[in-house]
C-alpha cells in the first residue's frame, strides 16, 4: 500500500528523518509511535506531500507520489491541530471540502454520530477545541478512501466521543482500509492497533505486533515496553 524508501529530511540543522524505510501492507491499523520530535508528523506529512523530502522515495500502490497531486484522493487525513478558517460556518466548510474532493458518502451519519447538528450553523471560530476536533473527524471520515491517516485523533475528545471514534476506526478497518495512527495514549494504541511502527532518531526502531514488542523487551505491558526502549536508548 505505502512504501517509503531511504527517506531523509532536514529542517535547517535539525535532521528529523535519517534514512527511514517503511513498508505498510494493505488493510489493518498501524500505530506510529515515538518520543516527541522523533519524526512522526514529518513522516506523515511526507506521505501527504506537505513536506518535501530531501532524499528518498515514497510510493502509494506502487506509484511514486512525486509530481502528482491526484494520489491524495486515496487518502483521508486528520491533522494534529484542528485549525479552520474562523469566519466559515461548519456547514460551509463541509460543502467546500465536498466541492473540492467530490461527493461524500456518509456525512449525515457522522453528524448524527458525533451530535454535531446544533453546531452546523455556527462559525468555526466559535467552537470549542473538542467540537472542532469532532468537525475535523467528520471531515476526515466523510470520504471513502482506502488509506486513512490520523495524527493524534484523540486530542480534546470527551469519553463518549472517544468510544465512538474507536468504533468508527474499527468499522473502517472492517471495510479493509489501511489506517495510520499516531498517538501518545498507550491504552488507545493497545486497544485498536494491529501493528506498531516505532520511530527513534529518524529511523524505524521496531515494527511488528504488540505481543512481539512485549516479548522483545520482556515487559508485561505496552507502556513499559516503550519506556524500556527509551531508557535503553538514553532518550
Amino acid at each position: 500500500m505505502v512504501s517509503v524508501e531511504n527517506l531523509h529530511k532536514k529542517f535547517g540543522k535539525n535532521e528529523v528523518l535519517t534514512g527511514l524505510d517503511l513498508e505498510i501492507s494493505e488493510g489493518g491499523i498501524f500505530a506510529v509511535l515515538g518520543p516527541n520530535g522523533s519524526g512522526k508528523t514529518t513522516l506523515i506529512k511526507s506521505i501527504l506531500g506537505m513536506v518535501i523530502p530531501d532524499k528518498g522515495t515514497i510510493s502509494i500502490h506502487g506509484k511514486s507520489i512525486k509530481k502528482d497531486s491526484n494520489y491524495r484522493k486515496q487518502i483521508d487525513y486528520l491533522p494534529q491541530i484542528a485549525n479552520f478558517p474562523s469566519n466559515l460556518k461548519v456547514k460551509e466548510l463541509i460543502k467546500m471540502i465536498k466541492d473540492l474532493r467530490g461527493n461524500s458518502t456518509n456525512e449525515a451519519e457522522l453528524i448524527e454520530m458525533f451530535k454535531l447538528e446544533p453546531f452546523i450553523d455556527k462559525k468555526l471560530g466559535q467552537l470549542s477545541g473538542g467540537t472542532k476536533q469532532k468537525v475535523n473527524i467528520l471531515l476526515t471520515f466523510m470520504f471513502d478512501s482506502p488509506l486513512v491517516i490520523l495524527d493524534e485523533p484523540t486530542t480534546g475528545l470527551d469519553p463518549i466521543a472517544l468510544i465512538r471514534l474507536k468504533n468508527l476506526i474499527k468499522a473502517e478497518k472492517a471495510k479493509g482500509k489501511t489506517l495510520l495512527i499516531t498517538s501518545h495514549i498507550m491504552s488507545f494504541v493497545e486497544e485498536i492497533s494491529d501493528e506498531i511502527v516505532f520511530l527513534l532518531e529518524g529511523k524505524i526502531y521496531f515494527k511488528g505486533t504488540i505481543p512481539a514488542l512485549k516479548a522483545q523487551t520482556s515487559q508485561p505491558d505496552l507502556e513499559h515496553a516503550i519506556a524500556n526502549i527509551l531508557t535503553e536508548n538514553h532518550v
Binding site: L48, M50, I52, R72, P79, D99, L100
Partner: protein, 260 residues
C-alpha cells in the same frame, strides 16, 4: 485553481476591509470631483494618490491574507489539489477583490459625474488599468515575501520596506544619482531606472497619456523624448506585464519547494 479563487474571493468579499477600501475610494472620488469640478484635473490628482496608495494596500493585504489563511492553506494541501493552483487561486482571489474595490469605488462617482460624455474617459480607463496592474504586482510581491518568511513580523517588515523602497526611496536615489552624474550623458541610465520600478513606470505611463510630461519631472520627459507617446505606451504596458509575471512565477516555484 478556479475553485480556490472562488472561495478566496468570497471569503474576502465578506471581510470588512474590502468594504473599507471600497468606501475609501468612493469617498476620494466624490471629494475630488466636487473640489476640482473637472474630470481631467481629478484624474491627475487621483493618479498621485493611486501611484502611492495602491501598492501599499496591495502589499499589506497580500501579506495579511497569506498569514491569516495559513490554516486554510494547510487544509487544502491535504486535498487532491496542485500546490500551484492553491497559491495562484489565493493570490488571484486577493488581487481581484482589491481591483474590484478600486474599479467600483472610483468608477461609480466618475460615471455619475458624466464620465462617458467626457474626453477624460481614456485617461480615466488608463488610470484604472495601471491601478489594477499595480495591485497585481504588489500582491504578488507580498505573496513572495510571505512565502519566504515563516515569521509574520519579519514578513510584514520586509513587505513595508519593499513598498517604501519602490514608492519613495527609489525615486530619491534615482534623482540623487542623476544629479551626481550630471556631467555624463544620462538618457539611457534614467530610462533603465524608470523601467526597473513599476511605480515610476506607471506614473510615466499615465503622464505620457495625459501629455503633460514636460511639466512633471525628468522621468516623463525622457520617456517622451525616447519613445513618443504610442510606442512608450506599449513598452510601459509590456514592462508592467513582466513585473506581474516574474513574481507570479516565483510564487509557483517557491510553493512547490516549501514544507508545511
Amino acid at each position: 485553481m478556479f475553485k480556490i479563487l472562488k472561495y478566496s474571493f468570497f471569503d474576502l468579499m465578506r471581510s470588512r476591509w474590502s468594504y473599507v477600501y471600497f468606501a475609501f475610494y468612493l469617498l476620494l472620488g466624490i471629494v475630488l470631483l466636487f473640489l476640482n469640478n473637472d474630470l481631467s484635473k481629478a484624474v491627475i490628482t487621483l493618479m498621485n494618490v493611486i501611484i502611492i496608495l495602491v501598492p501599499l494596500i496591495g502589499t499589506i493585504f497580500g501579506v495579511m491574507y497569506y498569514y491569516n489563511s495559513k490554516e486554510f492553506t494547510e487544509l487544502l494541501l491535504a486535498q487532491p489539489l496542485k500546490r500551484s493552483s492553491i497559491f495562484l487561486g489565493q493570490y488571484l482571489g486577493v488581487a481581484i477583490s482589491l481591483s474590484m474595490s478600486l474599479i467600483l469605488g472610483l468608477g461609480i462617482p466618475f460615471v455619475f459625474y458624466g464620465l462617458f460624455m467626457s474626453n477624460a474617459i481614456w485617461d480615466f480607463s488608463l488610470l484604472l488599468i495601471t491601478g489594477v496592474f499595480l495591485t497585481l504586482i504588489f500582491t504578488a510581491l507580498a505573496f513572495n515575501i510571505a512565502l519566504s518568511n515563516e515569521n509574520k513580523i519579519k514578513g510584514f517588515g520586509y513587505a513595508i520596506l519593499l513598498w517604501l523602497f519602490l514608492a519613495v526611496i527609489y525615486d530619491g536615489l534615482f534623482l540623487m544619482s542623476l544629479l551626481f552624474f550630471e556631467d555624463y550623458p544620462l538618457d539611457k541610465l534614467s530610462l533603465i531606472g524608470t523601467v526597473l520600478n513599476p511605480v515610476d513606470l506607471s506614473r510615466t505611463l499615465i503622464l505620457l497619456k495625459l501629455d503633460i510630461s514636460a511639466l512633471l519631472g525628468y522621468t516623463g520627459a525622457i520617456f517622451k523624448q525616447f519613445f513618443g507617446t504610442n510606442f512608450g505606451l506599449i513598452v510601459s504596458i509590456s514592462m508592467l506585464s513582466v513585473w506581474v509575471v516574474m513574481p507570479v512565477l516565483r510564487i509557483i516555484f517557491k510553493s512547490k519547494k516549501k514544507d508545511f
